[in-house]
Symmetry: C2
Subunit: 190 residues, 2 copies
Amino acid sequence: MPRQVDHEARRRHIAAAVWRLAAAGGLEEATIRRVATEAGVPARQLQYYFGTREELLLGALDLLNADGEAEAQQRIAALGDAPSPREVLRSVLHELLPLDENRRQRNLVHAAYFVRFLADHTLRERIRDTPPELENLIALLLPEEHRADADFLLAGAAGLQGQMLLGHLTAERAVELIDHQLDRIFPVVS
Amino acid sequence: MPRQVDHEARRRHIAAAVWRLAAAGGLEEATIRRVATEAGVPARQLQYYFGTREELLLGALDLLNADGEAEAQQRIAALGDAPSPREVLRSVLHELLPLDENRRQRNLVHAAYFVRFLADHTLRERIRDTPPELENLIALLLPEEHRADADFLLAGAAGLQGQMLLGHLTAERAVELIDHQLDRIFPVVS
DNA sequence: CGTGATGTGGTGCACTCGTACCATAAACTA
DNA sequence: TAGTTTATGGTACGAGTGCACCACATCACG
């Protein structure tokens, strides 16, 4: 094949531009021409590598989700070879919070897509904000009696995320609130 | 003054059109021409009663918040003259969930504005999704020792709202999860 | 009766949008 | 070397946008 280029690298480069614009000003800022300018490539290239604008946005989201999942698994693996259920659960919950620039940008982009998915019923399953995989993982870690607590924990983390993004809540307080709940669910035997 | 018309009524009529469009397809669907068509008035009237599009969107949000606050207070007043703290807290939390068409539409519109406010730092305080007034009210109702639980409850309700809007959670399950938390905070003395 | 404030309606302009289309360069295959 | 596929660049078009501007009703007041 002639003129071989690294398709995947190009797509990631363009997708990153989508993320920056969407995180800064929502999906409506991620117009084709603006993404092209942000990425430093001619607008025509977005057409070539993604097709229509809809496909560009969805493609960029898929790449973001892949990145996020990889980063999350890496962070959980870093807990050691025999992490306690509490440690794993805490990691999963922290994954939903904007605790560093990567997670913050992902949360912002997800929020932008969230509204779009509320309108587009056919694409809802593409949201990975609080996917069933998380619920399943947590269900494995916790005894059945704590199922309701676990579901509410996930919802709580999502809510804390929103408050943090709005600047209504500091990272310290959010972590503190989560740890308070964990203390209750995993009582210190002492 | 000549040709007196009910300004407030006209503004509400137009604002309602904004809500419907924003709830159905996000803020970007609420273009001036489309809102005019939806409201059944010439586009020029939006200019006259609201000015620029930005002012139209903000004005529509203020009216929505006023409506929501009135409805919430009415629902709390309906609890009787000496409601228990648990009842009040439960009502406040339910106010955040899309439990009927009114609240559902309000939640959808709020979600649409949420993303916009993430970008526009100067307008953040206009969001009333989980305003400090709620936190203050709850702080009054609960002993200091439950402050952390209350904050997490509010976050949890916001998270449940998102899952319900996405169709990942039924109203019954959401209410059940909240009641489960309330049972813990207000133990049955029996 | 005017006179001026208040409200209505329509149109036009400058701009951005998404995407289709066309020409050409580059590199692999035969 | 010729031919084919892959990739790039630029442009043009129709549609939709926010908003400014203008002409005209309608009514209260002098």
